[in-house]
Subunit: 181 residues, 2 copies
């Protein structure tokens, strides 16, 4: 096979999940059945994952938030909404900075804060929303460090550029290899 890269193969969608006891959600008109989902949408070109989540949450719900961590990644091929491309859907954990909902009536039927425990148990949602709600409930009770990929900005090999790297929290002594045999 050719070793030349071809072209972009993925669209990247990002959803934001508010990491408080209550969580914000949406009804999506575009499905046959109304389901509760996390607010989210597609990345703009050149946009960081966390910025997409914050922007989409604000556009769809009116809630201001800040990025905390990356929780989950889904890779899906041949989905109808991806125009023949593959779909990478990334779920972020956000903290809210405001609480008054002012939602987008083009994209949502309803928008509410919902108790995380109730969301983890409801059947009226998608499999991925339920799963991530349960993951978040686990993190809320046992510590978010159990579920988070944290983010760090590092300099790229190309002068002046930076990238964002996400992985599990690494203790400082391992980051610097200080006192590690």
């Amino acid at each position: 096979p050719s070793r030349l890269p071809g072209y972009a193969t993925h669209q990247v969608g990002v959803a934001g999940q508010i990491s408080q006891r209550k969580i914000i959600k949406l009804v999506n008109r575009s499905k046959l059945k109304n389901t509760w989902k996390f607010p989210g949408g597609l990345s703009e070109p050149g946009e960081d994952i966390g910025d997409t989540a914050i922007r989409e949450v604000f556009e769809e719900t009116g809630i201001k938030s800040e990025f905390r961590s990356l929780l989950s990644i889904r890779q899906q091929h041949r989905s109808p909404g991806a125009f023949g491309k593959s779909d990478m859907y990334i779920i972020c954990r956000l903290n809210p900075n405001s609480f008054t909902i002012d939602f987008c009536h083009h994209e949502c039927l309803r928008c509410e804060w919902m108790d995380l425990n109730a969301l983890a148990k409801t059947e009226n949602t998608t499999l991925i929303t339920r799963r991530v709600a349960r993951l978040l409930l686990y993190g809320y009770r046992e510590g978010f460090d159990k579920i988070d990929f944290t983010m760090e900005e590092l300099p790229a090999v190309y002068t002046g550029l930076f990238y964002k790297l996400y992985h599990k929290h690494l203790p400082d002594n391992y980051k610097t290899m200080t006192g590690i045999d």
Copy 2:
């Protein structure tokens, strides 16, 4: 802004990291300075992350391996190799099924098994390779569950399709909400 999705915005590169005490690596001719890197390359259209890692590791090193987990994600914009697109680079943990190196002379100057501890300490590599080597050393010593996003295949809302979902290990009682108040 338009709510219509535009087009694919990301290329997805995947690297494989062998989760044994020794780790396989490469010298890359394409950089000004030779550096040790993990084997890896771009996803083919429709290819799963883990399959890309396994294929690239085999093509570049001759080593057969199997997928274990997702370790880290890097998002980078405006990198010279991405043709104006953004770059999503995903590092997987693999287990080797073979050990004899037969490497690709187009893509590597040299290819060797290297002690993970030595790799974590060497300066002769990229920042991301060193960081992930340290993450892997931490997981090797403290348990890979500390660093892994595990994978599960779940049915999509579109009949007959499945997707792969990656997140931290979630205890079974949380997955099913059995005995959880």
